[in-house]
Symmetry: C2
Subunit: 404 residues, 2 copies
């Protein structure tokens, strides 16, 4: 098999850990596989470099920040290659440029446009282990770019796709994707398999294991992606296309997102064009509105509630003040201590009654539902933040997720 292995910052956090990673790579090689390794900067390094940049300037030029940050991965690829070579496993360090990771020119959050991979293929042919810098690429102007948060995972997936690798293993500090946050639900169970689509919902809802764009890239190019722990032996969680097994269960996981706030505009005159007036400025400010609820209109007046990420609340409120005046609404209400609890599963497509079951579980626990949104494979309820853990535990139990 051709396996791409990606190790994150914690996995290569010091010289001892880099040696451990070298041993893991060597073991995979000994098992007869071809290995391509993608690594991040040593943990803390990117933050250290960024804080240097901010010491120099409050708003450092982004092109130059990319030059700065891209030095972090160079250190790791060099050290890991040195470790492998010294163990007798021929290895070569390659930068993003050398691998031909071509991106657009949007510095600090570039998008991958194509992956060449010529030198990687050549190295593999010669029995050399390519050790590649994640997170970085090169623009059309031949300048270094970085891919933004989670960029190293994306590098690994893109390289796996370009090489048509049999497997792309993302080594991280969790054992895989769980049915719920193990810190909240002690019986939470690791999923052996999850579909790309479920993963996308689980991630955006707070599972925090993989960035969505890596999952989307993998889905689009059919990369078999596996998430597993650097520090603990185990088979991790495999991301694949949906299969019959997955559909046996109505629900695969329960997630909880506490990073939202709810804003309600009360007494909105119910006439066409109102929604655009409210959400136009929010969109223009690049604030992502997650859920929107409009009450049934009474006497031509309605209430509109929506959620935004908590860090954007202040900015949103400021905009809404003038909107409220402009459209002649009555008042503005903000509630920050909310949580969005969701159940996710491709099985919902064939199992009916999941929503009803969710509502009744919450009601039985005495939890009031403030907002509801549903999609084909997910049902989300906004509730009071203080009931979040109770809700997640009750739902996990009700959908029997702890069972094997």
């Amino acid at each position: 098999m051709l396996i791409v292995q990606k190790y994150g910052g914690t996995s290569v956090g010091n010289v001892e850990r880099i040696r451990d990673v070298a041993r893991k790579v060597a073991k995979t090689r000994d098992e007869g596989h071809d290995v391509v390794v993608v690594v991040s900067a040593m943990s803390g390094e990117t933050d250290r470099l960024l804080s240097l940049a901010h010491e120099v300037s409050e708003a450092p030029a982004e092109r130059e920040v990319d030059v700065l940050l891209s030095s972090g991965e160079r250190v790791t690829i060099a050290l890991l290659s040195i470790a492998l070579n010294s163990m007798g496993y021929p290895a070569k360090a390659f930068t993003g440029r050398q691998v031909g990771i071509v991106t657009d020119g949007v510095h600090t959050r570039a998008r991958i446009e194509r992956v060449g991979g010529e030198r990687v293929r050549e190295a593999l042919k010669q029995g050399i282990i390519p050790v590649i810098a994640g997170f970085q690429g090169i623009s059309g102007e031949s300048d270094v770019t970085t891919l933004g948060r989670g960029g190293s995972d994306l590098s690994a997936v893109a390289i796996a796709a370009a090489l048509k690798a049999d497997l792309c293993d993302i080594y991280t500090d969790v054992e895989g994707v769980f049915t719920a946050d193990p810190n909240i639900v002690s019986e939470a169970r690791k999923l052996d398999k999850v579909s790309y689509e479920e993963m996308l919902e689980l991630a955006s809802l707070g599972a925090k294991v993989l960035q969505n764009r890596s999952v989307e890239y993998a889905a689009k190019h059919g990369v078999r992606l596996r998430v597993l722990s650097t520090f603990k032996e185990g088979s991790g969680t495999l991301l694949t296309e949906e299969d019959a097994d997955m559909e046996k269960l109505a629900v695969s996981g329960v997630t909880c997102d506490r990073n939202q706030a709810k804003i309600t505009i009360i007494g909105v005159p119910d006439r066409p064009g109102i929604a655009a007036k409210i959400f136009g400025p929010v969109a223009d400010a690049n604030i992502v509105v997650d859920m929107i609820i409009q009450n049934v209109s009474q006497e031509s007046l309605t209430d509109i509630s929506f959620t935004v990420p908590r860090p954007d609340v202040k900015k949103t409120i400021e905009m809404m003040r003038s909107v409220v005046k402009d459209i002649g609404a009555k008042e503005l209400e903000v509630k920050e201590d909310i949580a969005k609890v969701s159940v996710v599963g491709v099985g919902m497509r064939s199992h009916s009654g999941v929503a009803v079951r969710m509502f009744s579980v919450l009601s039985k626990e005495g939890i009031n539902i403030m907002m509801i949104s549903t999609s084909e494979i997910k049902i989300s309820c906004v509730i009071d933040a203080k009931y979040a853990e109770l809700a997640v535990r009750a739902l996990h139990r009700a959908f029997e997720l702890e069972g094997a």
Copy 2:
């Protein structure tokens, strides 16, 4: 004028100093000049990276060491560009590759083969200050290479040559080239001008300001090179072709090298081919023999003395033991506590009697001369190490170097 400015590791040792350098660059710009900046890694960074490499492996692969080390300058070029941009001076960071510094493939001590400079010229045309990573280049295989000790100076000189710059300023922690080491001779005077050739002799004899290959490159390409202090205002020392001014003085400087040891082979049969038998193995071991003296032969036996760098003494002795046996010589003598004191000056070409004056000064101080070597612009005497400072001071005074 187009000025290339090079700042070493101490000059960019922390964020505050990087800001100081930015101010110096800005000032040059304000004076109406075009500026190109070349920088080293922050002081201590290269050592930190090297020690990481040695933690991972006793003999790290050199190609990978270059990937590792080249990250150091990336940090500095990024931070300095950020500083300049934030002060309102448009600047762009460029790596060795982006500037087109093409080297051979000898990792950790590559030689520059050519300098493109396309992007630098383009940036200058747009009014942008190019900030370039010194010490690094790219091989024909498109791999990063580093230039070895003093490599950043060489980068600056090579870039100045490629751009046909009017001046190449090397900012360092000394104020220029002195007539003698100011730690030994308190009246030592800074030289305003020195010829390339004198500088080569002064450097190899211990002046330590610039590596010879930078001076050689500058001489070959006619780069006006100036050495000056980052921390103290001043005009530094300018390196140029010889001119009439220089020839007025017989001697420009007195230097002292304590890093040699003297080895004598006693009772060598005086027949053809002996010298090759002695120095062949030394040359094969890449040990640089500096001075060689052969006594007048008596009864077909002679003594041969030579000096080698002190770190190579042990290795040389081992080789000589078998040589002594092989050629039927009597014995081997080693003296480590020696010093080589030299007077240097292009004026010697037109002033006779410099050697005689030197010998008589030393003799008057009661200092015995063990070995003598002379060239067109330099006379060196090997003496007992304990008289080194006395000799330097006496010569400095005798040749009236303290006078303006």
